[in-house]
Symmetry: C2
Subunit: 310 residues, 2 copies
């Protein structure tokens, strides 16, 4: 039986390329493994797969009790395939907090506080004497560039930086030039529907009793997106009604300036003010120096919620 390898819903570049690379590693180690995706590719990931001439993994709708699965770049069940609580999880490779995750039996679970799943996969290749091909290097390199915004995000660790240099050498690519082109490919919002903007890279977090949806969009031009604010807010309200989110936060990150402007919709959206010491103006605030959902947005909001309930 083949192990199904996949990343989170609303796939980004790290989730897709890590699934592909992790499946290759498993096969190199003599196991049957196939990479899947849980949704459509974004433009950035398309650019990366095209550049390195790699096929898009097949779409996976759900898993069931017959499936053996390996999760990459996520562990929280609500971000995973439908039916994940029924499947046998044999392995997890991740770089996020651990939560809403549970198995019946022991498994291989490896999370490290680095900027990117690919950085861990690069280590796993070394530990198991798996040769990193040009293609694998290109994919892992793309993931690190994406997750660390070309090493500028505060999530970046020395390990990510070293891995990127190493992989760029193997892939034989100027990572600065390639990286900017890849990020730009994903950062144009003109041809994206409002629905796509708020669902493209969105994750749900349970904080206290609140279901908090946090979407992130990378842009090179904040104005291009905020000209559409009214329709975006309408769409967020509809989406929140439909999915019963208590709070919806859209984080619009300017990848050149390394700042984010957020729109926060929900009864308790004041939590943003407490979390970042800012004032909301028409449900909107500039978060100077904030670019990382994982390292900056999620923990600050979580702490703010906790202090609200104390």
């Amino acid at each position: 039986m083949t192990v199904k390898v996949f990343g989170h819903k609303n796939p980004d570049t790290d989730t897709i390329t890590s699934a592909i690379v992790a499946a290759i590693i498993e096969r190199e180690l003599g196991k049957e493994a196939t990479a899947y995706r849980l949704g459509d590719l974004n433009k950035e990931t398309e650019y990366a797969l095209n550049y390195f001439n790699v096929e898009t993994p097949e779409l996976l709708d759900s898993v069931n009790s017959d499936d053996e699965v390996m999760l990459v770049d996520h562990n929280e069940f609500q971000q995973s395939a439908d039916g994940i609580d029924k499947a046998t999880i044999i392995s997890v490779i991740d770089h996020h907090r651990v939560a809403n995750f549970e198995t019946n039996a022991p498994l291989y679970f490896r999370a490290e506080p680095v900027g990117c799943t690919a950085t861990i996969l690069n280590k796993i290749c070394k530990e198991n004497n798996v040769t990193v091909t040009k293609e694998m290097a290109g994919l892992m390199m793309s993931a690190i560039i994406s997750d660390t915004l070309l090493l500028k995000s505060p999530t970046t660790t020395t390990e990510d930086e070293e891995a990127l240099h190493e992989l760029a050498t193997i892939a034989d690519v100027n990572y600065d030039h390639y990286g900017l082109e890849m990020l730009k490919a994903g950062a144009s919002t003109k041809d994206k529907s409002t629905q796509a903007l708020i669902t493209g890279d969105a994750k749900t977090f349970e904080m206290g009793d609140n279901s908090v949806r946090i979407a992130q969009v990378n842009v090179v031009d904040l104005n291009e997106l905020f000209e559409r604010k009214e329709e975006i807010v309408d769409e967020i309200k509809k989406e929140s009604d439909r999915e019963k989110y208590d709070l919806f936060i859209l984080v619009v990150t300017d990848i050149l300036a390394s700042d984010s402007r957020v729109i926060a919709i929900g009864e308790n959206n004041k939590v943003i003010e407490r979390a970042f010491d800012v004032a909301l103006d028409d449900n909107e605030a500039l978060l100077t120096g904030v670019v990382s959902r994982k390292k900056q947005v999620v923990p600050n909001i979580e702490k703010a919620f906790q202090s609200l309930y104390e």
Copy 2:
């Protein structure tokens, strides 16, 4: 600030020695770390620490929001220090299922499906070029012997076996002879109070809506213990009332024959019959070939509970 390193409540040999060894590794890597214990040592662990002339770690009552902690040999919060949900967990090294565990931030989390935490620690030493001293080798060796019942438990993997051989060489000890003496030191039930028997190595598992307490006692003579069955059952009933367990299972493992005799007390104790295809006689059944709580008892009971509710 020193990182507090500890294993689970009701400490066993792997939990105590892994805390000691993990703290040594952290210090070798330039961090401040101190090993603690969450309860009294059992006779087996006392034997091991005495033999290798290692000091008993200090008792830790609880942790709080100022603490940075590292968990070894467990991850489920109900098995950990009181207040664990407030502390900052920076690292976990474990070989159990993952459940009832949650952090706000990314961390180093490493679980592998091997027989013993010490087997993973031995790998971590190699990965980080930390020299394994005679003392560390003796401690890790004792943990592997304890958790795998001298390599006879079905939880034993090739990695545990190889690690044991390697460590015994460094410790310069005949592991078969030492191991049997160490196991016997922990296996006499004569001088143990009934209370100690049912709480000494006990863990709570949430299964569906049930709080299931599973205690394990290793013996070399089943009769010695079952002569006291009546008082044991009384004590279990009192303990279950007090702690609101829905089911209490005492697994008495004959470490020489590699079988277990269980006593199951609780309204739904018939789950044992479904889990192991046996008939309970006076709340008691022999589970042939069953020696591992983690690999055999817990997953089978969990599955049986799931099928009951389907």
